[in-house]
Amino acid sequence: MGVALPEAVAAELATSADDHLIQLLTPSGELVADEQFHYTGSDQDLVEDLRTMLLTRAIDTEGTALQRKGELGLWVQSLGQEAAQIGSARAFGSNDLIVPSYRELGVYLALGLDPLEFLGTFRGTAMVDWPTGPANLHLPSFVIGTQTLHAVGMAMALQRDGRVGNPNPDDNGAVVVYFGDGATSQGDVNEAFVFAAAANAPVVFFCQNNQWAISEPTTVQTPVPLYRRASGFGFPGVRVDGNDVLAVRAVTEWALERARSGAGPVLIEAFTYRMGAHTTSDDPTKYRSADEVAEWKAKDPIDRLRTYLLAKGLIDDAWLDGVAAEAATQAERLRTGCVQLVEPDLADSFDLVYTDTPEHLHRQRAEFEAYEASFEVNA
């Protein structure tokens, strides 16, 4: 027996060998049809999407600037992933729950979160709370992949709440969880696939394959396209052009509707690109070529939507100027707001470990306060 693959095996590995990338808007800004997926939104939605994408990019740029000025300890850029984030956010229903990783600025802004609320995490004034944020938005996770299991658990809670498969779609909900290409290697993410499949849980796994996990290209994680991972766990995986806001919305709507109806999980691989550094601590020139960056620049999610909307006459330069002005205002607000974020006092931390603070933490707090006070006396 040779080492060639038996036919059945070869057939299986070759499945979806074309690795169909679902696309509705080309990089040059032209609409194309997909056999299965169709854009369901209005023209006005697209205008609004472009606005959110532009604001996201402006705020993201401001985040980087604030880090460079030393006002933030770190900034995690979403540059280039605006369509994946905002297109998917467009698909959320009112009962859906959102579980981000740490790069989802576009999702936050689409959901109406005040960016000042999460600036604190990067300034070091806060852990990850947003008291005025939308209730359906979970905290981000910084330990790669862990949040996918939380999402499955939240989906299991929806099932138990009777929030899945009801005749009236308004009664149904699902969970969307974000993670990266690198995250797919973590045990937790694969266990999340197992648990979601076993429970047929209403969860959409939204993987932004931005081609890099810090310095590691996706090929370090897998020799085959990531969306294919799903079928072996028993649910569908699809690959969508993550820089195409129309396609991302269409695919996410389909997946969410399917999940809410009780048909179970879906893995969406949004094929996109991290146009910036991994974070402000990173130096991508060490590991990737300018050519690659240029190649993806030509597929910029904002450019193509702007081209399309301009061509269709849905926006004009004045509109763009208006958004630029709005962006400038927001950036300014961020600059001012950032430095005004309330400086935290460690004393407050002692009461946040448990709902009822135990004795030893009261004592440690007192010890800390006495120690701090000793300086004031001395001073």
Partner: protein
Amino acid sequence: MSTLTMAKALNAGLRRALANDPKVLLAGEDIGALGGVFRITEGLQAEFGRDRVVDTPLAESGIVGTAVGLALGGYKPVVEIQFDGFVYPAFDQIVSQVSRLHFRSHGRLSVPMVVRIPYGGGIGAIEHHSESPEAYFAHTPGLKVVTCANPSDAYWMIQQAIADPDPVIFFEPKRRYHDKGEVDVDASAAPDSLYQARIARHGTDATLLTYGPMVRTCLDAAAAAEAEGRSLEVIDLRSLSPIDDATVFASVRRTGRVVVVHEAARTLGMGAELAARIQAECFYELQAPVLRVTGYDLPYPPSRTEHSFLPDLDRVLDAVDQSLAH
């Protein structure tokens, strides 16, 4: 008032929690039709259904991680880790997520969940089935860590742990599962607090500080010591995090001598923390150093040597002798 084994008492406590609160649910490997490998959940799936007593896939991180999601979704998951040695795959979820969501969210979120872990040796098992990993969890801020030592505590503590708004790691001394004891299920019989130590036996010459499976060992030792005219106090810590310092220090101040007893390895076991606290707080009252009678700093050895590995009555009394000799 009825006589129950610890296993049955836990079963009854879980049943009551499930009956009283529709948000309580159990999850774990083999806890459904089989009732768990120790039968702690026996009959509960038949009674409460598969949505509330859930046989999960075989993956501990998944069990704990999905329980976090269920807790965030308003449920109160009580998960079973089949044996002590199988909690480590879930360590990241416990240490970086379960313990911190309250803190991470500035107090806005909480994860009211319980992780039940049958623990400890003395049952003649193969490796990974006799461990005492409590110190890993007690070192982790944000977790509460408790352990029961008799059927009554088992019955009440499991219910109190479930009712607690914070995550609780609940250690069950598996070799005491079949010990019998009186259980009063009347609400008035519930102990005041899950986090309070209990003076299991009063004494004046020295204090034995212990918990879980070693409480019985220490009570036996104290009974034997009495025959020799020595009066030993036995404190059952019940809560390993937080530690009920007040009860501990008061006893030490009375007796001036302490022996800490546990199965876990000595280095950085609970005895280390207790000794450190006691020497700091009762420096002038201590008549002798705090001594530790513990498992040795070995991986859990082959079961036919476990009688030598585990603290027993004689080793405890030997340490008491050493303490009194000071």
